[in-house]
Symmetry: C2
Subunit: 104 residues, 2 copies
């Protein structure tokens, strides 16, 4: 399996939960700390911590500590690249398997 499918699928999986997708949306205009995000959901603090780790490990979000707080923000470059990749996946391509099938 080509690496691009694996990498892209990992990012999609991280966002394939409504709650985490909403977190990405919340972060779209800037940084938020964990406690600010937590306020918006009916989940416990460890659950959020786990969700944020999933987003960080997928390369969707970066984190930094400032005092007692951890601030999260989107890795926009990574997200934009994934978005482009996804667009290419949908689009017709000259090297698609269905062409080779017609030729073969």
């Amino acid at each position: 399996m080509e690496q691009v499918y694996i990498d892209t699928a990992k990012m999609l999986k991280a966002m394939s939960d409504p709650k985490r997708l909403r977190i990405v949306d919340m972060l779209s205009c800037g940084e938020l700390c964990a406690c600010e995000i937590l306020e918006e959901f009916h989940i416990t603090q460890p659950t959020l911590s786990h969700d944020m780790r999933v987003l960080v490990e997928a390369g969707i979000v970066t984190d930094r500590r400032e005092g007692k707080n951890i601030y999260y923000k989107l890795d926009k470059e990574s997200l934009n690249q994934m978005h482009k990749t996804l667009g290419r996946v949908f689009k017709d391509k000259p090297d698609c398997i269905c062409h080779s099938r017609k030729n073969g």
Copy 2:
């Protein structure tokens, strides 16, 4: 949780498996029947059948029968809309929570 997060997350989840993402890629330039897709993977026929159902139920793929075969193709309209939605999720927005936070 807003419906748009639920619907989008469902589509992302369906594509959050490298194999299914590759199937979407394979379908990007046209229809393929189940047996043609199956040839490309080391999985059993019931496994593929299950994967295709996931894609159909997420609204990513449509299916039609032609004789003994089931042909699958992408629901491009649905995919394009999801792609746009995803783009909006990433982008800064005036109604983002972080703005209301600054005001409040």
